[in-house]
């Protein structure tokens, strides 16, 4: 059932070759949707495009074990070729590295890239081409699966290079490397940096920028759902107009992650309204249990449907590479949402029924409600005899209303008074004889009933 909600195939076009491996592995391990052999084959096909010889070899072997005989490949030759290339570029890059790692040089480097370049050129004979080798070497290492090294090289390249376009792709490379290494802290920084660059750069066509943003949205998922601060960042970032537009235009499925992030994010409840609007408008393009859950709850107020969708959500989340980690969290928060909405609308609630709505037993439900009352300061009481929850009427009292209405009056009058005084002073200065004509406005003394 959940196969239709699998987004892997939709997302792959927007990911880097190497980033796809973890996704496929996840599917393979959990034995989801596809037969393991097809997945293995897919991974093998992918790996052929990389330079990860050992990995190819391994997959080749696994495929054979699985009973599929892939086309024979000239592994030995390729390995030699790749190793040669690796050595060559390493040697070239080493020259640059030697210079850079020299403590004297490190001390001499400044903020200004051009100046640095000049300095290196004058003192060490480094040219732009030589710096380019760093980029190439990094790229090659990445292709070989040596992500750590690649990240390193690309970092150095970015420090020295003045080429914007290559700098951008180096940053992409660095982000990918950090993601694959699992170095979330650094990756998070890279994401922020990348975002700034994408927003600032003037691309030749809006389409190009859209493409970059789409990629960015996909890649950043890796970071955001692994970094502790990630979920805040997802909400912050994805709800920005530019990115919401990107989601709507080119990749509506990202809505799932945005929704999940908003739901699990306790502090951002006011964002929910915005999210609901977006979801409502994308329903014709994209829907899955997660967005449907929000829709049922906040658009149709259909608690039964919400309950049903929540159960479906559980399954979908379990099968999603990115969201599997927050599944528990999501369910908790979703229940919280349901009960909160429920309480706001209802005055008297049957505990048994509420527990059922939340997919819980009666005892659990009662506990849950007690916790809810305690945590969120909902003004409610449980009637044990009737087994109901009574919500207290929380309409604003008249006194409250009057206080609200007259709150600003004294301040405003004060402002008025000072401005009149100022004006008078100015008038006095300007023309002494006009002193006897103050403005008609008399300062209003604030009235508080």
């Amino acid at each position: 059932m959940a196969a239709q909600y699998d987004l892997t195939s939709k997302m792959i076009p927007f990911l880097d070759l190497h980033l796809v491996f973890p996704l496929l592995e996840f599917l393979e391990i959990n034995e989801l949707f596809y037969t393991p052999t097809t997945l293995l084959e897919a991974r093998y096909e992918l790996s052929l495009k990389t330079s990860m010889i050992d990995f190819i070899d391994k997959l080749h072997g696994e495929l054979k074990d699985a009973g599929v005989t892939p086309a024979p490949i000239e592994l030995v030759e390729r390995r030699k070729e790749i190793l040669d290339k690796l050595q060559n570029s390493q040697a070239e890059a080493q020259k640059v590295m030697d210079v850079i790692e020299n403590p004297e040089v490190i001390n001499a480097l400044r903020q200004d890239k051009l100046q640095n370049l000049q300095f290196l050129k004058d003192n060490y004979g480094m040219t732009a081409e030589m710096i380019q080798t760093l980029y190439k070497f990094g790229q090659f290492q990445y292709s070989c699966g040596n992500y750590g090294g690649a990240a390193d090289m690309l970092y150095h390249y970015r420090v020295l290079s003045t080429d914007d376009t290559l700098g951008l792709s180096a940053l992409w490379g660095k982000l990918a490397s950090e993601i694959l290494v699992g170095n979330w802290e650094v990756a998070f920084e890279a994401v922020q940096e990348l975002k700034e660059i994408i927003d600032k750069t003037h691309f030749a066509s809006p389409l190009h920028q859209l493409e970059q943003r789409t990629w960015f949205l996909h890649w950043s998922l890796f970071v955001f759902f692994n970094h502790p601060k990630g979920r805040d960042a997802v909400v912050d970032l994805f709800l920005q107009p530019a990115y919401i537009n990107t989601i709507q235009t080119s990749c509506p499925w990202i809505l799932r992650y945005l929704t999940a992030a908003v739901v699990t994010n306790k502090r951002r409840k006011n964002l929910l309204k915005e999210l609901v609007k977006v979801i409502e408008h994308e329903t014709y393009q994209y829907r899955d249990p997660i967005t449907e859950f929000v829709e049922a709850l906040y658009v149709n107020f259909d608690f039964d449907l919400a309950k049903q969708k929540l159960a479906e959500c559980e399954e979908v989340l379990e099968n999603d590479f990115f969201l599997v980690a927050i599944q528990e969290d999501f369910i908790q928060n979703a229940r919280c949402f349901i009960s909160e909405t429920y309480c706001r609308i209802h005055q008297k609630i049957d505990v048994a029924e509420l527990s059922q709505t939340l997919n819980m037993t009666k005892e659990e439900g009662e506990k849950w409600i007690v916790n809810l009352i305690r945590d969120t300061k909902v003004d409610a009481k449980i009637d044990y005899k009737e087994n109901t929850v009574l919500m207290n009427n929380n309409t604003q009292s008249v006194y409250q209303q009057i206080i609200e209405r007259t709150k600003g009056l004294s301040f405003r009058s004060q402002v008025l008074a000072t401005s009149i005084e100022k004006r008078e002073a100015a008038q006095l200065k300007a023309a002494q004889h006009e002193k006897n004509h103050p403005s008609t406005a008399v300062p209003e003394t604030a009235t508080k009933a």
Partner: protein, 840 residues
Amino acid sequence: MSRFFRAGESDSDESDSDYSDELTHSESEDHSDSDSDNSSSDDDDTAKKTGGRGRLFEGSMSDSDSEDDTVRVVRSAKDKRFEEIEQAVTSMINGQKINDWVSAQNEFDRANKGLQKAAGIIAQSGVPKFYIRAVADLEKSIQAALEKEKSSSKKMNASNAKALNSMKQKVKKNNRLYEKEIQDYEKDPENYVEEEVVEEKPKAKKAKKVVVADSEDDSDVEAADDGFTPVGAGGKSVEFNQENIYKKLKEVADARGKKNTNREDQVRILERLLVVANSPYQKIRVLLALTSAQFDFAIGASGYMSIPLWKNADKYLNSLLTLLEANPDYIIKEDVPEVEETDKDLVPQNGEPVYIQGSLVAFIDRLDDEFTKSLQNIDPHTTDYVDRLKDEVGLYSVIVRSQAYFTRIHLTDSISRTTMRRLEHLYFKPDIVIVAVENATAALLPASVARPHQDSSVLIHDLCVFLYKNATSLLRTRSMLCHIYHHALHNRFFVARDMLLMSHLQETIHQADVTTQILHNRAMVQLGLCAFREGMIKEAQTCLQDISGTGRVKELLAQGLSPQRYGAATPEQEKLERQRQLPFHMHINLELLECVYLTCSMLLEIPNMAQAGSNPDGRKKVISKPFRRMLDYNSRQVFSGPPENTRDHIMGAAKSLSNGEWQKSIELINAIKIWELMPEAMKIKEMLGHKIQEEGLRTYLFANASHYSSVGLDQLAKMFDLPLASVISIVSKMVWNEELSASIDQVSNVVVLHHVEPSKVQSLALAFAEKAAGFVEGNEKLLELKTPQQAERPKKGANANKEQATGKQQQQRTMGPRGGRAGRNQFNNGLGNSVRGGRK
């Protein structure tokens, strides 16, 4: 002498004067008979020619006119006029007796002139009998004279013979007008004059035409060709041959646009040339000239090219395209250097194509424009219109054909222009029609040129995508609008909406030209109708608001002229507006549009009004002004009869909806006949019924909340015939949105309504607080007024509330945000953006 006549005199343009001469003749006999214009223009050529010649004599006669007035006797106007005529007639009879045709002709003309002067009198009392007798006799004696002339050996002198000849023609033509009278006379020549019975209808309709062609002899034809010098004495077949074809062409081309050029002759020459021409090059050249000659004809009073001429042009254009298809080495281009020796047959040599100067795309444009113009001018409720519309297939096939041709020779600009034309012929049509047109076109054209498209959406998509990629920005905009219209027509609301938003058309449409703005308005309206069909009431209302809400729908959609208030428009503006009108078959049904708009407004406005209740702030929030106005007007009436038109029905439905009588409301809405024009009318009625139930429930709750302390959900469901679940959903939504201060008691399944009934002191306190706030605000405003330089500060407090309020209102009216690449979120402001397509 009529003013027409004078105008004809001074106008030196040959064909025009021919025409006005016709007028003169009929005018001279009769002012009131309007038929004569049309019928006389149907006369064949010879009659016209001789008429034309006769005019010269008439002109020369006008000098001697004044002599008669020497004797000043007071007589009645009638007598005076008739006496004049009688005098002339008598001298004419004398002249013809002594065989002096010159003087007879002069007198005849004078008599006619007199008759013309007396037109007013004649209209009352009829043509004088003596005149009829004289002209009838005259015809006979002319015939006799001619017979005698032929048989006798002695020739009469030249001027006399000429006068006789022209008399013959003139009299024949003249007498046709009085056919009936003459017949009467001939039945009883003796008593005719004596009969003093005044005929009520002096003018008989000219039922039949007398065939004039019988007596046409050589000299007549010569005379007909008089204005055309190049024709020599030799026969015509020798005249046009291979050798002089280019010379003739050049002559025709040179004569074009000059004074005294007879276009008909030009066309005739060209037609003969076409017969003679045998090489493709010659044919193409002649056809090019011929097609443009067709377009050169004066438009005349009807305001459009006459249909036979249009068909000719269509025919020639088609044969030109056939020729070009058959001879791919000949290419017509606009920017070809003028070839020096135009009198040689150019043949493509070793693969080098021959370039000929000309602009096919201009022909296509003109042909299409003329077609539209004719449709604008023909009354759409006649069979003429339908007949004319049948020509569209032909036109469409020419467009498709030329598009294929341009594609072959890679003229991008021309391709886009023709593609656009093609698109504009298609976008508003339903699928079946498009497929039919495509099939018919494919049948007309060779298979190599056009293949029929079976899927209209694919066809439209292809055309549009081509234009997006290749065309200029104006054409891109137009094609985008056509595409949106097409999507909306096919109920693809979201696709259409996204296209509209992503293209950011609404931001720039105000700078576009008026016709594009009209197209935009059309697309918006169609989008609104689409939303309505899909059951998205709010969206539909927003889309239609700015167009239907203005009361200038006709003008905004170019579907008829709206009545001008205070004569605001100058004639030029009105003329321009007239030119922009869409042909009838492209119209969007305005009554249906109004009906949809009002229904949407009702569904939104009635709950809104109920919610506002007596609260003055809420009252201000108006969703649809026209609807409120109508409702107010309707409820002010003392007696309201049963609903007659659409509007009455909707107003009635609105009233019963606000009273909670949803069944009656549904009945009234369903009784509207115009829904039948919608596809799947039943489904729409069903949808409307459902919406009315829901809105009825909401209205009921808003209106009656204060009278209940709790309402059973089951009861509500029963009352409004809705499932319990949807009642709960609706109530929950109202509670959640804080529209209704209530909450649901789940255990006993009731809605508990919270009343905040303030005590006397409390309400006074509230009022006091309100007053105080008002005071402060007033003071702030005053200060702001007095000190303009400090205007910013007080604003903060005073206007913040207002801004908030408007913001909220806007939010409620939105269709919700959707971004485009950068700011699809402006949809809320945007969708309502209609454009004043009217005068600029």
